[in-house]
């Protein structure tokens, strides 16, 4: 929120009608008028000491009234009897035991204070107000990550509350250099947004750039991290995700350790990480918790299925309709005989099946869990055997469509899988018109588009296209830990060394004794 009204200590009269007096009643009247028709606002008048009237304003169930009563009002009543009703020390020397009390004067600041879920104490005869910050509201417990589940590795996931998320991060990176900068966005929602980075590893240019892009956001409400994402992304019209999002605190801490910056928004369990390039989207948290040989093997499978999800249906169309001499003879006979009864051309059939599969997938997500199970079973039945039996679709096509469907799920980042599913349709069109030549041109256009895509300064295909020496270690192959001495290029140039001597130095010196 751009601080529209600068909080001047002087009683700026006319701050939309705030009475410029120190006695209680007119001020209470103002608060009542501002907060009319809010059933959850509680205004609790009481008198203390020798008759000075006070009142406490708070939001029910958001403000911890019992704790405030216990720690605040009782000692207050006991205490001020000795102050012979001069309550000024209350504001000055923080005599109250509860932390986080603040003296407020400006009406709008105090209004925000109440709306943030804290209490406000007004005292007759004193224009200053005391803010009490005991907020307690129901929060979701930390549960297992629903989308990015991992077999071997931490299972904690972020929750909606920003402070709990920050504790998850802070517990992982206990370093002085871990900086957490807070900003608020949205005039109406005033959601707090947090930038997390390690100031000695993360290049300053990146932090400045992020702040510069965030500064020009002036929107009335920020309810999810996606609002920010689309505002700060380099090329909004590209189907490819340029900011990585995750719900796992260990992924966030790993990327922060690599010198990247993370943005977390209150009320959303999803954290954004920038900059990102294509190959980080293909890495899942699992890769780093499994032995590197298995991780490398799984990464290659991911590459294979990435291309399958993009190219398999278009290759099927291109080969069957343009270059049948590529298919081995026996396979050709069985495929062409299975296509004998199918009335549609290959392109039309492929498009129909793909759209049906997309519809099935979307339906199974949207339908409530109870009957969701039924839809996927019925869907598979309808699309699978029945269609083939009726001769609407050839058997080969059902296999291909289901294989591509599964393949697009193997990609760890759901956004990337989505963009490849989207790109499959123009590729099918090109394959239907120009055959393998069309697929080659489609691949070129996608490749060139990705080449020139940038996310916060780092090229999208950075380790491969603008070749960075030695950075093959973490893209095509997951090198073992003791090989990864240097941080990826996104980190600050000065501070690239991650570990001093090799982790396995104990193994090298064992042979001293023998000759």
């Amino acid at each position: 929120m751009r601080a529209k009204d600068n909080p001047m200590p002087v009683f700026a009269n006319g701050d939309d009608g705030y009475p410029d007096t120190s006695n209680l009643e007119p001020r209470l009247e103002w608060f009542r008028s501002q907060l009319a028709h809010c059933s959850d606002i509680v205004i609790h008048p009481f008198t203390i000491g020798t008759g000075t009237a006070c009142s406490l304003i708070y939001i029910r169930e958001l403000f911890d009234y019992h704790d405030a009563e216990e720690h605040l009002l009782k000692p207050l009543i006991k205490e001020c009897s000795s102050w012979n009703n001069d309550l000024s020390p209350l504001f000055v020397e923080h005599r109250l035991p509860s932390a986080g009390c603040r003296t407020l004067t400006a009406p709008s600041a105090s209004m925000d204070w109440v709306l943030d879920g804290c209490g406000l104490l007004l005292i007759d005869g004193d224009s200053r107000m005391l803010g009490l910050s005991q907020t307690k509201f129901e929060k979701r417990a930390i549960m297992e990550a629903p989308n990015e589940s991992v077999i071997r590795g931490p299972r904690e996931a972020f929750v909606e509350n920003l402070d709990t998320n920050l504790t998850l991060i802070r517990r992982r990176i206990r370093s002085r250099h871990l900086k957490i900068e807070q900003m608020t966005f949205g005039t109406k929602t005033r959601t707090s947004v947090v930038l997390i980075y390690l100031d000695d590893i993360c290049p300053d240019s990146l932090v400045k750039e992020m702040k510069r892009r965030l500064a020009c956001i002036d929107v009335d409400g920020v309810l999810g991290s996606n609002y920010l994402e689309e505002a700060i992304v380099d090329n909004p019209s590209s189907p490819f995700p340029q900011i990585q999002y995750t719900e796992r605190p260990d992924t966030v801490s790993a990327s922060v350790l690599e010198g990247r910056i993370s943005v977390m928004v209150n009320n959303t369990p999803i954290a954004l990480i920038a900059p990102v390039h294509f190959f980080t989207l293909l890495q899942s948290a699992e890769d780093y918790y499994q032995p590197f040989i298995a991780a490398t093997w799984i990464r290659w499978i991911r590459f294979v299925f990435l291309t399958t999800s993009l190219l398999l249906p278009s290759f099927y169309i291109a080969i069957t309709t343009f270059h049948p001499e590529m298919i081995p003879y026996s396979l050709l006979i069985s495929v062409s005989s299975s296509r004998e009864v199918v009335p549609f051309p290959a392109l039309m059939e492929a498009l129909m099946m793909e759209i049906a599969f997309e519809a099935l997938r979307e339906a199974s997500v949207r339908i409530p869990k109870s009957i969701g199970q039924a839809v996927s079973i019925i869907g598979a039945l309808i699309i699978g055997t029945a269609a083939v039996q009726a001769g609407i679709v050839s058997a080969a096509m059902v296999i291909i469509v289901s294989l591509t469907g599964i393949a697009s799920f193997i990609i760890p980042s759901f956004d990337l899988g989505l963009s490849f599913r989207l790109l499959r349709f123009p590729m099918m069109l090109l394959a239907g018109i120009f055959g393998i030549f069309g697929i080659a041109c489609g691949l070129i256009i996608i490749y060139v588009h990705m080449l020139n895509l940038q996310s916060f300064g780092t090229p999208y295909l950075s380790p491969i296209a603008p070749q960075v020496a030695g950075s093959f270690k973490d893209t095509l192959v997951r090198a073992p830990w003791w090989k990864m001495k240097r941080r990826p290029p996104t980190a600050d140039a000065a501070n690239r060394i991650r570990q001093k001597s090799g982790l396995r130095s104990w193994a090298e010196h064992s042979g001293e004794g023998e000759d």
Binding site: N235, S237, S238, I317, T320, T321, F322, H323, P324, E325, Y329, L332, I333, S334, V335, S336, S337, S338, R339, E340, V341, V342, P345, A346, L347, A395, P426, L429, G432, I433, G435, I445
Partner: protein, 409 residues
């Protein structure tokens, strides 16, 4: 940089009309007739072209109704048309078939002997020029009218005759001559050996299921694309395959040098080297073929434990092999067809001399060329037993001299 979204929109706009233009050259799979066998023969009324096209609608898997396998009725159609030239016949066939004839999957061409006698140059030209037909398409020959034999031939092992021929080539059971071998060099263009196929027709009286079908039988010699009178017998064809290094598994028997009884061998040729040499009289060619051999049956009492016996046997096999090679080459030289492309080897090694004899190379090949044969067969394996059955168990004593045990005490 924000021209990109416009490009994106333009690209999508371009795609939509592109769909309307339809797909120019996309032909549906079941709109194509895949030719897996080309049969060409010469008849009185011109060139008779037969294309073997599998009928995929009879092979629908899992299709409950319909004819399915059709009970012995082969799911292939042999479409035959006759035209003045090959192209006209092809045009007639294409005109009658509702589907688009594609040659992408053709691996073998069968030629009739009458056509071969007249000359197969137009076939070779057709294969070389047609973009979809490959230069490693195999050529086969059949004596007499081809179509009637092929049509009546029920194939027992494979669904299509073409797969049978592919099987022969894959397992090297037959002499493999490709179109490229026939056009390798100008000097010996059109010369070559084409394997012959023999068709055992099923006599209706025999009980069902007796496998008729196709077999390999000798090879025809072609000179300048025309078939010459004499034909190589199956044994000579196998020695020709030895020269070409294609003799993978060949079983034969030879009398053992010690007692003249039969010893069975199988050889597989490793490689063949053809090296030209130059003598005062003129040019010559040495053929040295290296192959492995193993004994599979031994009826003689030769003691296979001793190495010199093995060498004796090797000398014997080499002698037989050399003799059969020399006879085969003499036969091809008599017909003046440089079937093994010796001319190419001479042109590579001695270009100057080659220029002089290039014009009448076939005459030179027929008379003056000196051919030496040196086949090196090494006997490596005895199989899983050493002494022959007779030797070990003394089963072949003569009937007369057995002792008689009289029963009385």
């Amino acid at each position: 940089m924000s021209l990109l979204p416009k490009l994106w929109k333009i690209a999508i706009l371009l795609c939509i009309p592109a769909m309307v233009t339809g797909c120019w050259s996309s032909v549906e799979l079941n709109n194509r007739a895949f030719v897996n066998l080309v049969i060409v023969d010469q008849t009185d009324s011109g060139v008779e072209l037969t294309l073997g096209i599998p009928l995929t609608n009879r092979l629908i898997p899992g299709f409950t109704g319909g004819t399915g396998e059709g009970g012995g009725q082969e799911p292939i159609a042999y479409v035959t048309r006759t035209g003045a030239t090959l192209e006209e016949a092809l045009q007639k066939i294409q005109g009658d078939i509702p589907r688009d004839v594609t040659f992408g999957q053709t691996h073998s061409i069968i030629l009739g002997s009458r056509l071969a006698k007249q000359g197969i140059a137009p076939i070779l030209e057709f294969v070389e020029r047609n973009p979809l037909l490959r230069l490693n398409t195999n050529l086969f020959m059949v004596e007499g009218p081809v179509k009637s034999k092929v049509a009546r031939m029920p194939s027992s092992f494979e669904r299509f005759l073409a797969s049978v021929l592919n099987g022969y080539i894959r397992n090297d059971q037959i002499l493999s001559t490709t179109v490229k071998d026939m056009m390798y060099s100008e000097a010996s263009g059109g010369d070559g050996l084409i394997p012959m196929l023999s068709f055992k027709t099923v006599d209706p009286s025999a009980k069902a299921g007796s496998p008729g079908g196709v077999g390999t039988a000798g090879a025809a010699i072609l000179r300048k694309g025309k078939m010459v009178t004499n034909v190589l017998s199956p044994e000579e064809t196998s020695s020709a395959r030895l020269v070409l290094g294609q003799l993978k598994r060949y079983i034969y028997s030879a009398p053992s040098p010690t007692d003249g009884r039969n010893v069975g061998f199988y050889t597989s040729s490793l490689r063949t080297e053809i090296r030209p040499f130059r003598t005062r009289q003129g040019l010559g060619v040495t053929i040295s073929s290296y192959s492995d051999a193993g004994i599979i049956a031994s009826d003689s009492d030769i003691d296979l434990r001793k190495q010199q016996n093995i060498e004796l046997l090797e000398k014997e096999i080499n002698r037989i092999a050399n003799k059969s090679l020399m006879e085969m080459i003499a036969k091809t030289r008599k017909s003046g067809a440089d079937v093994f492309n010796f001319g190419h080897y001479l042109s590579v090694q001695y270009p100057k001399e080659w220029k002089t004899i290039q014009q009448d190379w076939r005459a030179y090949y027929k008379d003056r060329l000196e051919v030496r044969v040196d086949s090196v067969i090494s006997l490596r394996r005895l199989g899983s037993s050493t002494d022959s059955f007779h030797n070990k168990l003394k089963v072949d004593e003569k009937e007369g001299d057995e002792r008689t045990w009289n029963l009385s005490p």
